[in-house]
């Protein structure tokens, strides 16, 4: 047994002096199949990875790559219709791929811990936080008094842990819940921690704090970490080794920086090229297409040419928050925001959740009324628009929303979806509308055969293209992208961003781009507005803001971009 192990190519015996140290977790030729309505589906094939004691290994891949499935198999938590159909999962030499449920219960918690993905759904809403920590301690035979619980929670960075333990999950913010989950995952000092996208649901600044804290804790405890993430930059920054998975297979694995600087597999290469957190420049589409490039490359000339198209002046939006029994408090979601958008450029509004950025977008779209302040569109105050004028305004300003699943009516096929704006505005007849729809599909690089399909039959990226085609149907001048690429996988995100840049170059569109992701901003925006808690913190050209941020908040945001500080050798960048 031991001999065989030594001869397998995955066992590393070359790191000086570590010969004889057994890997804590070794996955060999792992295959996982799922039973579905249409037969058996192989979700993972020939997966392999090795984690040495104290090491952090990251699996990177897009949704459906099998990264989470592989990790769940290691803790015996595959869904009921999934099973390990081949290979081994060796935990300290013991094959646990087919271990009994009893054995897995012994291992979970104190040998293998888990920090799950979504802090909102992973804590049981009906039990107090302290109870959920206590049952973990108890199940693993550890002392579980109030002091022990408080200690576990405060170690995970929860302030005022004694009082917090008596609260319910819904009284916690997302970041605090994630800390509670980390506390639970590490409470029994496991030797291996599986962290499945532990921070992807959180704001970047919170994400950074939590990952820092997790790193400190696991270093102190000597815990090995299997980190699952879709973000190559984050993986490279946090892990010693990175394993790249694609369509259920491991396509490339190696030391983080090595892999990042010298990707070998075409998929990894594409991933490195597309990762927004690693890219450092605006997408230069115009240049590639041979269009006159001075527009994009010479900001000075551009400023002189383009006029101010959209002026936001001292915009305010106040909501009444009900506080029960007739009392109400004012809450300013947007407070005194002013900025200009120039024709043919992209302005990004960046901020974390609750910054008021989406409220600004809704007000610009005339879907919400501002409490105060003005929005001038092409010199006209939009608040004074009559219904007929508003109807015309809608032709010129169109939105694209975040969730490609939610922004298309599931009852409408693609043709009806894209045709609807034309029908509503009574443009053309049946034949000319159909022609227009076909042209639009070409513009967003969707095949004509998609016309009779329904949204549920398309992939996320395809749906977002349909949404773009619908937005373009009325030949608008301004497009408001509200987190338009946030829900997409990295490669698809890059495709859609490129498409948007292409369209801008060809159609002279003006974009107002709402996003939480500074990395994306760098790729697409000319100007940036940074918002925090309803207020505008900093504005400026993208280059200025990225190279010499003035405000602490902007600096914190920039610092929080995972992998931002990983210097890439010039041949990759």
């Amino acid at each position: 047994m031991r001999d065989k192990e030594m001869t397998t190519p995955d066992v590393r015996i070359d790191e000086a002096g570590t010969t004889g140290i057994r890997p804590l977790l070794e996955i060999r030729d792992l295959a996982i199949t799922f039973k579905t309505g249409g037969g058996e589906v192989k979700a993972v094939r020939d997966a392999h990875l090795t984690i040495m004691p104290g090491e952090t290994v990251a699996i990177v891949g897009e949704s459906g790559s099998g990264k989470s499935t592989t990790a769940l198999a290691a803790i015996g938590l595959l869904p009921n219709n999934g099973k390990v159909s081949g290979g081994q999962i060796l935990l300290d030499g013991e094959d646990i791929a087919h271990a009994s449920e009893q054995r897995m219960i012994e291992l979970r918690g104190n040998t293998i811990g888990m920090v799950p993905q979504d802090p909102m759904s992973n804590l049981n809403p009906v039990w107090k936080i302290g109870y959920q920590v206590r049952e973990t301690l108890r199940a693993n035979g550890r002392p579980s008094g109030p002091d022990d619980i408080a200690k576990v929670l405060s170690q995970a960075g929860l302030p005022d842990a004694k009082r917090r333990a008596n609260q319910y999950p819904h009284e916690f913010s997302g970041g605090m819940r994630q800390r509670a989950l980390i506390a639970i995952g590490l409470s029994c000092q496991p030797r291996l921690l599986i962290a499945d996208e532990p921070t992807s649901a959180l704001d970047v600044t919170v994400q950074r704090q939590i990952l820092d804290h997790l790193e400190t804790m696991t270093n102190e405890l000597g815990t090995s970490v299997l980190l699952i993430t879709h973000d190559l930059g984050l993986a490279a920054e946090r892990a010693d080794k990175v394993v790249v998975m694609y369509q259920g297979r491991v396509v490339e694995a190696g030391p983080s920086l090595e892999l990042l600087r010298n990707p070998q597999h075409p998929y990894t290469k594409r991933l490195v090229e597309s990762a927004p957190s690693l890219a450092s420049r605006r997408i230069q589409v115009a240049k590639e297409q041979g269009v006159e490039t001075t527009d994009l490359l010479a900001p000075a000339a551009e400023t002189a040419k383009s006029d101010t198209f959209l002026q936001i002046q001292d915009l305010r939006k106040v909501y009444k928050l009900r506080q029960g029994l007739g009392k109400a408090a004012d809450f300013a979601a947007v407070d005194g925001v002013s900025f200009d958008v120039r024709r043919g450029t992209t302005t990004a509004i960046v901020g974390e959740s609750g910054s008021g950025k989406s409220t600004v977008a809704k007000m610009v779209l005339q879907l919400e009324k501002p409490t105060d302040g003005r929005i001038l569109f092409d010199g006209v105050d939009t608040s004074a628009l009559k219904p007929a004028e508003l109807f015309k305004f809608r032709r010129r300003v169109q939105p694209i929303f975040q969730d490609p699943y939610g922004s298309l009516d599931p009852m409408y096929n693609i043709y009806r979806t894209i045709e609807e704006p034309l029908r509503v505005h009574k443009i053309g007849d049946q034949a000319s509308r159909e022609k227009k729809v076909r042209t639009l599909l070409d513009q967003v690089a969707l095949p004509q055969s998609a016309m009779q399909r329904y949204p549920n039959e398309l992939s996320g990226g395809q749906r977002q293209r349909v949404a773009i085609a619908r937005a373009l149907a009325l030949d608008p001048e301004v497009i408001i992208c509200d987190e338009a690429v946030s829900a997409l996988d990295v490669l698809v995100q890059a495709q859609v961003l490129n498409l948007l840049a292409d369209l801008q170059a060809n159609l002279g569109l003006t974009y107002l781009f709402i996003t939480h992701d500074l990395a994306v901003v760098r790729q697409i925006a000319d100007h940036v507005c940074v918002m925090e808690k309803g207020r505008l913190v900093e504005t400026g050209s993208t280059d200025d803001v990225f190279e010499s941020p003035q405000q602490d908040y902007t600096k914190a945001l920039l610092n929080a971009i995972p992998g931002a500080k990983l210097m890439l050798p010039p041949e990759v960048a």
Binding site: P399, D409, E420
Partner: protein, 314 residues
């Protein structure tokens, strides 16, 4: 191939970078309804219930095809509680009427009360529920309280009171029963509709439609309601069964359909007299009633499964 023996690269031919952007062209397009219909067709539960309901509808429309004995005729006290004879397979009631003929002719009353009540409840409940859910504000508040009031009155109790009104006591008919049931049952439909509409109301596709220039009411009709229909349809099918039971219960208590209308509820009430001696007199209308209700409940179940958004591919 690898620059370092720690650096693993899969052979490229093993993991081709497939075009993930292909659009399926091998199947017919699947709208929600087409998808649901495809799933329904394969479910035995649906096939059985649909066939049963079809048979019931034919019986209700053309009772003459199934029995040559006209309703309420040929009742002779000499036949009281008589056993099955040629042409009278189920025997005779206490009054000496043909049980089989009564069961066949009773179908019409049960089905029409059920269908008409569901229609009324749909019209009232969906309209009010959709308005309340979509517009919110005071409409919602008023409707919610109004609904609460009717909600606090269980169907049988409420019916007991309403049917005490002289207007109802003297004009018992299918319509009074439909009125009573609809009046007491609309709040549940309104609640379900309201919930479904609220769920859809804030979808991005509704906001997108508004941003395209679709009017607020237009968005309700074109986008919100069609997407809120699934739970409404499921409840409507289930309520068909519930209302048929309600009619039978009211008739059984003597406050539903008048004796002159053949209905299973009346038959069961009448058969009480023979329960100890000839229980099968009660058994036949009871079985007919139960099978009818079962068909609609099975249909509702099958439709619920077929329309379950969770079972749809994303």
């Amino acid at each position: 191939m690898t620059s370092n023996k720690n650096h693993f690269v899969a052979p490229i031919d093993e993991t081709p970078l497939q075009a993930t952007d292909a659009v399926k062209t091998d199947q017919a397009p699947l709208s929600l309804w087409a998808d649901a219909w495809r799933k329904l067709r394969r479910r035995p539960l649906f096939i059985i219930s649909a066939l049963l309901i079809l048979a019931l509808v034919v019986i209700a429309l053309f009772p003459g095809l199934f029995t040559s004995t006209p309703p309420n005729e040929g009742c002779e006290l000499a036949n009281s509680e008589g056993g099955p004879t040629a042409g009278h397979p189920f025997g005779f009631t206490f009054q000496g009427c043909d049980v089989y003929s009564r069961v066949i002719h009773g179908t019409q009353a049960s089905l029409s009360v059920g269908l008409l009540s569901v229609l009324c409840v749909l019209v009232i409940g969906v309209t009010l529920g959709a308005l309340a859910g979509y517009y919110g504000g005071w409409i919602d508040a008023v409707l919610a309280r109004l609904g609460d009031i009717f909600f606090a009155l269980p169907l049988v109790l409420g019916a007991l009171v309403i049917t005490q009104l002289p207007l109802f006591r003297e004009n018992k008919s299918v319509w009074t029963v439909v009125f009573v049931i609809s009046l007491l049952a609309w709040p549940q439909m309104a609640r379900i509709t309201r919930g479904a509409v609220i769920e859809v109301r804030n979808s991005d596709f509704v906001t997108a439609a508004r941003a395209l220039g679709v009017s607020k009411f237009g968005a309700l009709i074109r986008h919100v309601l069609p997407n809120a229909l699934a739970p409404i349809i499921v409840l409507a099918t289930l309520e068909l069964g519930v209302f048929i039971v309600a009619e039978a219960t009211l008739s059984f208590l003597g406050i539903g359909l008048p004796q002159s209308i053949m209905s299973w509820g009346n038959d069961i009430a009448g058969a009480q007299a023979s329960i100890r001696t000839r229980p099968e007199i009660m058994l036949y209308p009871a079985a007919a009633l139960s099978i009818t209700v079962l068909s609609f409940i099975m249909l509702g179940d099958a439709v619920r499964d077929a329309l379950d958004p969770k079972s749809r591919q994303r």
